[in-house]
């Protein structure tokens, strides 16, 4: 419907970026519609050329686990549960369909009706991306539970790496604009990770689960989050960000035109400028979107949107036909709106001049020089960090609204006094933070007398330091200090001569106290605040020996401290010696149980295969008995079949349980290696990963804890 427009989303642009002068007279046009007549599984739609010199066609997965090919009557039945599909040009001039299931990757050649390869992938595949990564040949990359696999056209495993969490989305993009593509992956733990070849090069922290990644241009990729945010990163910095109330299904890039198309799950389709997110055109489909795909026909590209109910709608980007009139009207309306807003403000100023004092008193005005202080306050006895909001002149605070991404359950926290007549001019709002990350708190404070329904709004922005969960310990509260047993030790870099600068930025600390960190020798104790109220932190500085020791028992937090310290002082390489007895013991235990678990897995697999063979044999015998009309024997065999089937299921369950334990242990081990890598900076950190993998591959497991402790260079 004309005029049915959603207002533009609020845009946060990191910097004023004069993008290229692009033609903005383009729009989305609906060019075809049809129905697949099946309900479609979410996330499982691709476009592929399935025959030599054939045309691109839509391939989708139905909710009944079948692969549907448009214009083909039959569908492919896959016995394993399908999670995702992709197209890869592994055929001779055409695509094969790559199928990711709960436990394997299958490459199917539709043209020749044969399975090219089937590879076991423990824990299955969640997403695919095809292309060239760095110096490696083209391959299909599979994102799994905490591993990434790469297979070439023959099914050979050409790539393998590990990451800290499940991979939910991937793309190949030249992240640092060095001419080589990197693998960019997104995880449910709010992190975007960038892999150069098989080593993780960068981690980008976001505010919610990553749902979609897409290449935009060299040095630029787009991302979307589970809270409705979309945006782009350019050369490692966020370029723009937009939050909507809907979630993204797919993002497509049209690099030559500098455009991108965003398909939202609830049915909207946007055409946007890639450099600032501005909407050029908007269309929609009638129901919820399963997924979308881009296909080419000659020189034209089409966006095919497939809904959950099987309806398909196709769009293309074309020059706008009525665009000039609509754009003109839109511009006139915007100018009219702006003019009206300004005139409203002006007339309010004029009215203000004419108001008598009596009328002003009736309005419950507050003094003009009222100020609101918003500061961080530590309640030491409760070990609690609070945001203190205090209004001058004893003006009642009628409410506090805090917008902060990723800090609260939603995007905001609201406080309104329990009783309007028990108002106060100061309020402490507890902050219980479960992640070490910098955060902007946008605070809006409602001020007004108790009987007034007109309130002043004071705005304030505070940056929450990354390690605000620790506060400097004062002597009288030493009972809250629990000496940590774990520590790291590293040489003080000459760039980091003034520790106070980093401490000032990263911790909540009085400016008057920060100078002590620059003394030649010292021990500095921090107590933990909720929810880290029984975890303490201590720095031990010795400039004479040029060493720094940091004591803390949580290795994840220690890694964050090291990375923050190195990033602040722009340190590119840093070694350290780590002492985390509990973590190393855990690693040793996992390493010791890997071989037995593998043996158990092999034994259970053999047992399962034996039971399955027995089941098949009994089925054949039972059917033979029926065929020769020997019903008593048939009944006997079917009774035996029931028992054997139950035994086979039990064996399968046992194998699955063992597999689950095995993967859980491997994931935990990978996490430990990653955490120990983050206790170092730059090449020493990467070498930890390389050396540990070599040790595992060479069955040289006893050396791993030494590597974790002392680094890889010894």
């Amino acid at each position: 419907m004309d005029g049915d427009r959603t207002p533009e989303e609020q845009i946060e642009i990191a910097e004023s970026d004069q993008g290229p002068q692009l033609d903005d007279n383009v729009e989305l046009a609906n060019v075809f519609s049809y129905s697949l007549d099946q309900r479609i599984m979410e996330g499982c739609v691709i476009s592929a050329i399935l025959e030599p010199r054939g045309l691109e066609t839509i391939v989708a997965v139905s909710v009944t686990n079948k692969i549907i090919i448009k214009d083909k009557e039959t569908s492919l039945n896959i016995t394993e549960t399908i999670r995702c599909i992709a197209a890869a040009p592994f055929g001779d001039g055409y695509d094969c369909i790559i199928i990711g299931t709960d436990s394997s990757v299958i490459c199917y050649d539709v043209h020749n009706n044969l399975t090219v390869f089937r590879n076991d992938v423990p824990d299955g595949v969640s997403c695919f991306v095809y292309g060239k990564l760095g110096e490696l040949d083209e391959a299909i990359y599979c994102g799994g539970n905490c591993c990434i696999w790469g297979f070439d056209k023959t099914g050979a495993n050409t790539y393998w790496t590990v990451t800290g969490d499940q991979v939910t989305t991937m793309c190949l993009s030249d992240y640092d604009n060095d001419g080589e593509t990197e693998l960019v992956i997104g995880s449910p733990d709010f992190e975007i990770r960038v892999f150069k070849n098989d080593l993780m090069r960068t981690e980008l922290m976001e505010t919610d689960e990553i749902t979609c990644l897409a290449h935009v241009a060299n040095g630029c990729f787009a991302y979307s989050l589970n809270n409705g945010t979309i945006g782009t990163y350019v050369l490692k910095e966020r370029q723009w960000r937009i939050k909507s109330k809907s979630n993204v299904s797919k993002i497509f890039n049209f690099e030559e035109e500098g455009l991108m198309v965003v398909v939202w799950k609830q049915g909207k389709v946007d055409l946007r400028f890639a450099h600032n997110g501005e909407v050029l055109s908007r269309d929609s489909v009638s129901s919820h979107v399963a997924s979308a795909s881009v296909s080419k026909k000659g020189d034209e590209s089409f966006i095919t949107v497939v809904c959950l109910d099987g309806k398909v709608k196709g769009f293309k980007i074309q020059r706008a036909q009525n665009g000039s009139i609509d754009k003109t009207q839109q511009l006139i309306r915007e100018f009219g709106q702006k003019k009206h807003n300004l005139m409203m403000e002006l007339s309010n100023y004029e009215q203000e001049e004419q108001l008598a004092d009596v009328e002003k008193d009736r309005d419950f005005r507050i003094p003009v020089d009222t100020e609101v202080a918003v500061v961080f306050v530590v309640n030491t006895e409760l070990q609690l960090l609070s945001l203190r909001v205090e209004a001058s002149h004893n003006i009642p605070i009628r409410g506090v609204l805090i917008f902060a991404e990723g800090l609260f359950e939603g995007e905001s926290y609201i406080w309104i006094p329990p009783n309007e007549y028990q108002s106060r001019s100061v309020i402490d709002i507890p902050l219980v933070i479960d992640k070490d990350s910098t955060n902007d708190l946008h605070t809006k404070v409602f001020l007004g007398q108790v009987d007034s329904n007109k309130l002043m709004v004071m705005e304030n922005t505070r940056i929450l330091p990354k390690f605000c969960r620790f506060t400097l310990l004062r002597e009288e509260y030493s009972k809250f200090f629990y000496m940590p047993t774990a520590y790291i030790q590293f040489d003080i870099n000459s760039r980091a001569a003034k520790l106070s600068e980093w401490v000032q930025e990263s911790f909540t600390i009085d400016a008057s106290l920060v100078e002590m960190f620059d003394e030649p020798e010292g021990e500095f104790k921090f107590m933990g605040l909720r929810p880290k109220h029984e975890k303490s932190l201590m720095f031990k500085i010795s400039h004479s020996e040029k060493t720094c020791k940091i004591y803390h028992d949580k290795i994840e937090t220690m890694g964050a401290i090291v990375q923050s310290y190195a990033s602040f002082y722009q340190i590119q390489n840093m070694e350290s010696v780590a002492h985390f007895p509990d973590v190393f013991k855990e690693a040793d235990e996992i390493l010791e149980e890997i071989d037995p678990m593998t043996e158990v897995r092999d034994r259970l697999t053999a047992e399962l295969q034996e039971r399955q063979a027995a089941v098949k044999e009994i089925i054949i015998r039972a059917e033979d008995s029926i065929a020769i009309d020997n019903i008593p024997d048939a009944r006997k065999f079917y009774i035996r079949l029931k028992a054997n089937d139950a035994a086979a299921r039990q064996a399968a369950q046992l194998r699955w349980n063992n597999q689950e334990r095995c993967v859980k242990s491997l994931r935990r081990l990978n996490k430990i290696i990653e955490n120990c890598s983050r206790l170092r900076v730059g090449e020493p950190g990467r070498q930890i990963v390389v050396s540990c993998r070599s040790a595992i591959a060479d069955d040289n497991k006893q050396i791993i804890t030494k590597i974790l402790q002392y680094g890889a260079s010894v």
Partner: protein, 721 residues
């Protein structure tokens, strides 16, 4: 509507309903004019030429314009005299802006709605109706209900014995027909009429046909002959928003005038009429603001009809066919550039002025020093609407500003659920109750760019009551916010109704004691929505209600001095009333005797009433599973219809419709579980037994083995615990 496009003419100030008209031109060659009255009391007349808007005249601000109508001498076919109602005064203005006529009425109220025809001027306030013939006070009538709109029949030649007849749209879901000074009869509707209009502009071929639009978005046609009226048809419009405007004009080129409907949510709908006087939807257009006026004429073109739309925030725009010749619609490039440059210059100049004012304000405030001056507060008007929607089982809450909204904070004293509104683009964030916040719900809506209107949907359980506050913060400097307050009554889902079924099993609750009828009325005002705050002048008052969420239980209230009797077939309703009224009487130290007579059959009766709703939802879920299974069967068999039964074949054919229907259907979200549990708790309370709910047992029964008999058995067994 794919073939209509919007062209913005101007933005005047905020407007009330019915304050914009198109004035026919007085010369054949000239275009029609637009006249609009604002809430600031200013009257503006505009013309449109060469794609540009020109002001013909603009009057000085004054009291708000409440209503505007066109009229003219009966001897003339042209209606080009402008009549404006403000406060209790009616002025006549000609097309050049000169006042030729002024009449100060003796109305004690503000004249909200006006109808003008020939020498007759009809005015209504909230309760009063007056007719003035040639400035002489000729008829008057005092209505006990709120009057939302008025229209009069035009039947001069053959009035016969019938006196001057007007139709009032009243707040008790009736159209009241007033003949002379007297109430003749009423036509009972199912929802509150908000707008009335003469069918085809003059009442149709019988001159007795009146269109009405309701608060819940229904459109109907009623015939109002002498002696008794009849509803000819009533239809749903495309949304449940309030109908604010109805105009009849031929815009589609059909045989009869079309019906153009404007609504609170910004929808404009066009209906065509067939030979049987039935309406059929032709198309819709959507803008983002409340519609306050629609009028038609040749404003931009002599060859095409323009539909002129006016919104609450004062936007004036036209809807015109895009197929008209481009030469008329496309601005000449040079003219367009000049116009854009003019607009840009105006905006820049205004921005400079505003910046100067801001700086000057800062200087003044600094000079005033500490503690003496007071802050500057930007006053802004919040246009709000809080209306119950039976279709959604929830309250629609809309707020609209003339400046963009930055954010809104919702604070609720009672547990409510904020439901999704599709057209909202705001980012919502709810805050849970915690040690600092005793409020059951706090939420923030962060609005996107240039949003002036926000729509929420609020669902509450019956029995919960309290205040909902909205903190509305616009994008203006210095930053300020305004609190708007809305109240949800304990029986929030009960609506006025005309009928009361005496044959249902009834529970009776009676309060007797030393209280006045006004006090009893106040109890009702606190219990039920849409009860006027003032007690009607009568010795005994009887009102009927029906609940819209639990299958349609009834409530009848009869109260007088010293006695209040409540009768309902629902024990939950009786229990809520007893608790709330007792609360009030204890607070006011009134001694009352409470007598409660319960009918246990009413429990089975209530379960029977809600059974269709539960059964329907369960059937939808079951059909969805069948449809999925049959679809799978179809994809594996080429000739599946040859062996399916007729019922199964129909399910398979309706597969997509079944899935579409099941979207949003959920036992958990429908409120049914709470209704059943509350019924059990209420019965326990009223009979003095355990009031422990059996929510888990109810949920289990519905999800595993629901039938009306099994549910009745469960309730019967719970009675013996």
């Amino acid at each position: 509507m794919q073939n209509y496009s919007r062209t913005d003419f101007a933005q005047v100030g905020t407007t009330n309903r019915g304050c914009m008209r198109v004035i026919p031109s007085d010369k054949e060659k000239e275009h029609d004019l637009i006249v609009v009255g604002g809430q600031n009391g200013s009257l503006i007349c505009l013309s449109r030429k060469s794609n540009d808007t020109t002001i013909i005249f603009k009057t000085q601000p004054g009291y708000p314009v409440q209503s505007l109508a066109l009229g003219g001498p009966a001897s003339s076919k042209k209606k080009d005299k402008i009549f404006v109602a403000s406060q209790n005064t009616v002025r006549g203005v000609n097309r050049k802006g000169k006042t030729f006529f002024s009449m100060e009425t003796n109305m004690a109220e503000v004249a909200n709605r006006m109808f003008v025809r020939g020498l007759d001027v009809v005015l209504t306030g909230r309760k009063s109706y007056s007719r003035y013939h040639d400035t002489v006070d000729s008829n008057s009538y005092l209505c006990t209900e709120d009057i939302h709109d008025v229209v009069s029949l035009v039947f001069e030649e053959a009035w016969g014995s019938r006196e001057y007849t007007s139709i009032l749209a009243c707040g008790n879901s009736t159209l009241q027909i007033i003949e002379g000074n007297n109430f003749a009869y009423d036509v009972r509707l199912d929802s509150v009429p908000f707008t009335v209009s003469l069918f085809m502009g003059d009442g149709g071929h019988t001159k007795l046909l009146v269109l009405y639009g309701t608060k819940t978005g229904r459109l109907g046609l009623v015939s109002v002959p002498q002696g008794g009226g009849k509803i000819l048809w009533e239809i749903d419009t495309t949304s449940g928003a309030c109908v604010t405007t109805i105009v009849c004009f031929n815009v589609t080129g059909g045989q009869f005038p079309d019906i153009i409907v404007g609504k609170e949510d910004g929808l404009i709908e066009i209906y065509v009429i067939d030979e049987t006087d039935h309406a059929h939807l032709f198309g819709t257009f959507s803008c983002d603001e409340s519609i306050t006026g629609i009028s038609c004429g040749h404003v931009s073109s002599k060859s095409e009809i323009d539909i002129i739309i006016c919104t609450f925030t004062g936007w004036l725009f036209s809807l015109a066919k895009t197929s008209r010749p481009m030469i008329e619609n496309l601005p000449v490039a040079a003219n367009f550039s000049v116009k854009m440059q003019q607009l840009r210059s105006e905006v820049e100049e205004l921005q400079t002025k505003v910046n100067e004012e801001r700086l000057r304000y800062e200087e003044i405030t600094k000079r005033q020093g500490s503690g003496t001056g007071s802050t500057f507060f930007h006053s802004f008007q919040v246009h709000e609407n809080f209306e119950y929607s039976a279709a959604h089982g929830a309250y629609n809450l809309t707020i609209e500003l003339v400046i963009p909204i930055d954010f809104v904070v919702v604070q609720s004293q009672l547990p409510i659920r904020l439901m999704e509104v599709e057209k909202n683009a705001s980012v919502v964030s709810e805050v849970r109750q915690d040690a600092l916040n005793p409020w059951p719900l706090l939420a923030s809506y962060r609005c996107q760019a240039n949003v002036c209107r926000l729509e929420l949907r609020v669902q509450a359980n019956e029995g919960d009551s309290g205040v909902i506050n909205l903190y509305v913060c616009p994008k203006v400097m210095p930053k300020c916010a305004q609190i708007t307050t809305h109240y949800i009554k304990a029986l929030s889902s009960h609506m006025r109704s005309h009928d009361f079924d005496l044959y249902r099993p009834m529970n009776t609750l009676q309060f007797t004691g030393n209280f006045s009828i006004a006090e009893a009325h106040a109890w009702l005002h606190n219990l039920l929505p849409n009860v006027p705050s003032k007690c009607p002048p009568a010795d005994t008052i009887t009102n009927n209600y029906q609940c819209s969420v639990n299958g349609g239980t009834q409530l009848q209230v009869v109260y007088s001095k010293g006695s209040a009797v409540f009768r309902s077939d629902c024990m939950t309703t009786i229990c809520i009333i007893r608790d709330k009224v007792s609360e009030q009487t204890m607070k006011m130290q009134i001694r009352v005797e409470v007598a409660c007579e319960l009918n246990q059959d009413s429990v089975n009766h209530c379960l029977k009433l809600i059974d269709p709703k539960i059964t329907s939802m369960l059937n939808i879920e079951k059909n969805k599973l069948y449809a999925a299974a049959l679809k799978e069967l179809e994809s594996n068999n080429d000739d599946v219809f040859s062996f399916l039964s007729a019922a199964n074949a129909k399910i398979l054919k309706d597969h997509d419709a079944i899935y579409e229907k099941s979207e949003g259907v959920s036992i958990e979200d429908s409120g049914v579980l709470a209704i059943l549990e509350n019924l059990m708790v209420a019965r326990g309370k009223l009979t003095g037994r355990s009031s422990k709910g059996r929510g888990d047992a109810i949920r289990d029964l519905i999800s595993t083995d629901y039938s009306l008999e099994n549910m009745q058995t469960l309730f019967k067994n719970a009675m013996n615990d």
